[in-house]
């Protein structure tokens, strides 16, 4: 079937199966930042923003995003303030989980520009980083929220 959506700011028409997951469809489009990892919605490495809301690509049926706005990290300009904050805070090691954390952070800050420590932890409840970069990821969110570096 055909799937029409706004993908990373551009109206796009994709080919997909009715029972296919969004993760598969996006990877086929070459969007390699969306990463199959746990396959069951617990790790957040396949996170995409659908109308600004973080969703797991591995659990979202592709036809559900018909007509909606889908953003992957490839769609951020690269100069996005959240991405810059991750770089400044060194909030990553191997980088596998990073796109998911960046998008989740973006969604959090859009809704809550000054999140507390507990709110940050809650927002990242569905994002795992096996490298354990969490301290610096939290720092990155703080920086993106305009707090002084290293404030804990």
């Amino acid at each position: 079937m055909k799937l029409a959506l706004e993908l990373n700011g551009r109206p796009t028409e994709l080919e997909c199966e009715p029972d296919e997951m969004l993760l598969e469809v996006l990877r086929r489009e070459g969007l390699g930042s969306v990463r199959a990892t746990c396959g069951i919605g617990v790790c957040g490495a396949c996170t995409v923003l659908v109308d600004g809301e973080p969703l797991s690509g591995c659990l979202t049926l592709a036809p559900k995003v018909e007509g909606r706005e889908v953003t992957t990290v490839e769609g951020l300009a690269g100069a996005d303030p959240v991405q810059r904050a991750f770089i400044e805070a060194h909030g990553f090691q191997c980088g596998w989980c990073t796109p998911g954390f960046v998008l989740t952070a973006k969604a959090l800050l859009a809704e809550n520009p000054q999140p507390s420590e507990a709110e940050i932890a809650e927002a990242f409840g569905g994002n795992l980083c096996r490298c354990g970069s969490y301290v610096k990821i939290v720092d990155a969110v703080r920086r993106a929220a305009g707090e002084p570096a290293g404030a804990r």
């Binding site: 990892t37 790790c43 810059r84 090691q93 932890a121 490298c131 970069s133 301290v135």
Partner: protein
């Protein structure tokens, strides 16, 4: 310059590999933990698929990094998940579907899943013909015990144990268990294999490109030069992507198909690919009344699973790390690497050190209690200092244990009030002997540094750029560090045991000197660290360079529910000189977080040899919400010191620090993880003890080791 590809989402890993005309593989795995393959019927498989069956691998050889015991496809499944056949198809889905159509008939055999049981008389043998040592490729002498499931026995003998215990005023004996654990890198194992004119090329996420090349050359009967490994940056590894894993059957499948073949393992397959060694460890420790340690005996049963992999090396390192950073005149260690019918266990961040440090450092606190001494004071009194001789006979140099321990104690204000607090101090070796080489070439506006140091998130590329920039007088960005390729990168033993920054840094200094001396175009540097231990006596050089660290934990317990709250966790690593500060901090934090998972909830659960929690929902990984209320760490530096590896120093002390914090509250935990159920059981046991106040404490040896004495 663009932004870091990891943040842009542009980083590519082995799962992203594409080769023209490539097929996709699926492996057919035994559902039984121990079973002979009687017949494989592939007649149901669609004709556009290529199958790899037992007949196709008749000409191939057993391989293994320390013991040659692993076949490319096995005629005898030794664990549930052992690979018995493989299929290649145009898509990954088609390959998986075809793999299900392959009909394999098995004859089930009796199996064993516990390392202590596996060495009892009458237990089925998992490698009945014994196994061949991998010969000169092995950095340690392997000592199998013929006619048993022991693939390696490591012994360390220092002084006279009987005399030592004779001098002791107090002796404590304790036994501990640790479970298997999953490395669970976010990126699964993946690779592409391709043959061209009898030459094999594999693109794969690996920490050990040269070992992989050597072992595959053995398996396929090729000259090493006919195998090329290109090591793709990894989405985490932690030891999971070492030696030969999925690459051997993949290469055989590509040979049969005559086309490139790619495989990406499923998350469930990850749990049967390589795990952490479960262990049982018994410690006997004797001291004088004043706390001077006089004797220590350590018996270790190390479960290496169905294949040895690097189990012999892990048992060795586990064995000597369990002695601890102490002056003890009389020591005996007996560590067995034992085959069982569990999936293979291998290198895991810390390489066995966590298991024995957990046992050994918990025992220190038990001894301190018996001596009515502060655990801090007991440790301080016995710590190795510069010039002391360790149990391996090595004279210690650049010793910082006391600084590490004191820093940990101070961080939690231990001396003011030790209740609810625990300490751990550790000594850990680096891969010895080993060799590292590197080359530097002038190129355009900068330099190219070639080495086989593999990137897995630890930042080795960045460290090479930073060190290179300093030595060459340029900007880090002017240095290109291509990915390791065994055709063009100089030899390196492997990217393990936190050795790369240290070894490569030294090799780079030599290479830069060579570059200057030879006209500025090209330089080559190579360094060796010589040594190794005698496996029968444990004497020799365990490590040319010691990793030193400590941890302190402050905990509170809800005694109604067993819920453990970590109020504060502090880790300390001796860094010598820091090359990449943020990288070093990230490695420390990551190690401690992994240590927390190990301490509190990570365990692979088995039922009759089948993993019952092979997914990331039932197997929990630490998330942000699991971080302690206070989570701090420090790097101890010293002017003019060497660069010390930091990749895993502060993982091993975390479980023991938390276990000792519980012990200060009267809660005795002997088995990891310290789940709420176990904490609750410890609360009940403490209360029962208080009720029967006359019970003798020395009679409590809580983990049954079924009388399998290791004497002889």
């Amino acid at each position: 310059m663009g932004i870091d590809p990891r943040v842009a989402g542009a980083q590519r890993y082995s799962v992203d590999l594409e080769r023209p005309g490539m097929l996709h593989a699926a492996f057919v795995r035994s559902p039984h933990p121990h079973a002979r393959v009687l017949a494989v019927d592939a007649s149901g498989v669609p004709s556009d698929c290529v199958t790899l069956l037992p007949d196709d691998v008749q000409d191939l050889h057993l391989y293994g990094c320390q013991v040659r015991d692993e076949p490319v496809l096995t005629p005898l499944a030794r664990h549930a998940g052992d690979i018995v056949a493989a299929v290649a198809a145009p898509t990954a889905e088609a390959a998986k579907a075809a793999a299900r159509l392959l009909d394999v008939r098995y004859e089930e055999l009796p199996a064993v899943f516990d390392p202590v049981q596996a060495v009892s008389p009458g237990t089925p043998l998992i490698h009945p013909d014994g196994a061949l040592s991998a010969g000169e490729a092995v950095s340690i002498g392997v000592r199998p015990l013929a006619g048993t499931n022991v693939c390696h026995r490591f012994r360390l003998v220092h002084g006279d144990l009987t005399a030592g215990f004779g001098e002791a005023d107090v002796v404590v004996q304790q036994a501990f268990r640790t479970p298997g654990a999953a490395h669970a890198p976010m990126e699964p194992h993946a690779a592409v294999a391709e043959w061209e004119d009898g030459r094999l090329t594999i693109w794969t996420g690996t920490q050990t490109p040269f070992n992989l090349r050597g072992d595959l050359a053995v398996a396929f009967g090729l000259e090493e030069e006919r195998v090329r490994i290109i090591a793709i940056p990894m989405g985490g590894s932690f030891g999971a992507k070492t030696f030969v894993r999925h690459e051997a059957p993949l290469a055989a499948l590509a040979r049969k198909a005559g086309r490139p073949v790619k495989v990406v393992l499923d998350r469930t397959e990850e749990f049967v690919t390589l795990n952490r060694h479960p262990s049982v460890i018994r410690v006997r420790l004797g001291a004088k009344r004043d706390g001077t340690l006089v004797a220590k005996e350590l018996d270790c049963w190390v479960d290496t699973g169905a294949y040895a992999d690097c189990g012999p090396g892990v048992a060795t390192k586990l064995g000597y790390a369990g002695v601890g950073p102490y002056r003890i005149p009389h020591v005996r260690v007996d560590a067995l690497a034992i085959y069982t019918n569990l999936p293979p266990n291998g290198a895991f961040r810390g390489y066995g050190a966590m298991q024995s440090i957990w046992a050994s450092e918990r025992t220190m606190d038990v001894l301190a209690e018996r001596l009515e001494m502060s655990p801090l004071e007991l440790r301080r009194k016995n710590l190795l200092r510069d010039g002391d001789v360790f149990a391996t006979g090595e004279v210690m140099h650049d010793v910082q244990f006391e600084r590490c321990l004191q820093a940990a104690a101070d961080a939690v204000d231990y001396e003011r009030d030790p209740r609810g607090k625990g300490l751990c101090v550790l000594l850990k070796g680096m891969q010895t002997p080993s060799r590292a080489a590197i080359s530097v070439e002038r190129a355009g506006v900068g330099y190219v540094i070639r080495s086989a140091a593999c990137e897995m998130g630890q930042g080795v590329r960045r460290s090479l750029q930073l060190m290179g920039a300093q030595m060459l007088g340029c900007e880090p960005g002017q240095i290109d560090v291509p990915e390791p390729d065994t055709d063009t990168s100089p030899f390196d033993t492997r990217t393990t045991s936190s050795r790369s920054t240290h070894m490569m840094g030294r090799a780079l200094e030599v290479a830069v000197r060579d570059l200057r001396a030879s006209g500025g175009e090209r330089g080559y540097g190579e360094v060796h660290n010589e040594g190794g231990l005698d496996p029968d006596t444990g004497q020799g050089v365990a490590s040319t360079h010691w990793h030193q660290g400590a941890a302190a934990a402050h905990v509170t317990v809800d005694e109604e529910t067993g819920k453990l709250t970590i109020e504060h966790l502090h880790g300390v690593a001796y860094a010598g000189r820091v090359v990449n500060r943020e990288g070093a901090e990230l490695q420390n934090e990551g190690s401690m977080i992994m240590g927390l998972g190990t301490a509190l909830f990570e365990a692979i659960e088995f039922a009759d040899g089948q993993v019952t929690n092979a997914n990331l929902s039932d197997y929990n990984l630490p998330a942000i919400g699991d971080l302690p209320k206070r989570f701090t760490h420090e790097l101890i530096e010293r002017e003019g010191a060497e660069v010390h590896g930091l990749g895993e120093t502060v993982l091993p002390p975390v479980p023991a620090a938390i276990g000792n914090a519980l012990f200060s509250l009267g809660l005795e935990l002997h088995e990891l993880p310290m789940s709420a159920e176990r904490v609750l059981a410890a609360v009940d046991a403490r209360d029962a003890r208080a009720a029967a106040a006359d019970s003798a404490p020395e009679a409590r040896v809580p983990v049954a080791v079924d009388g399998q004495g290791l004497s002889g």
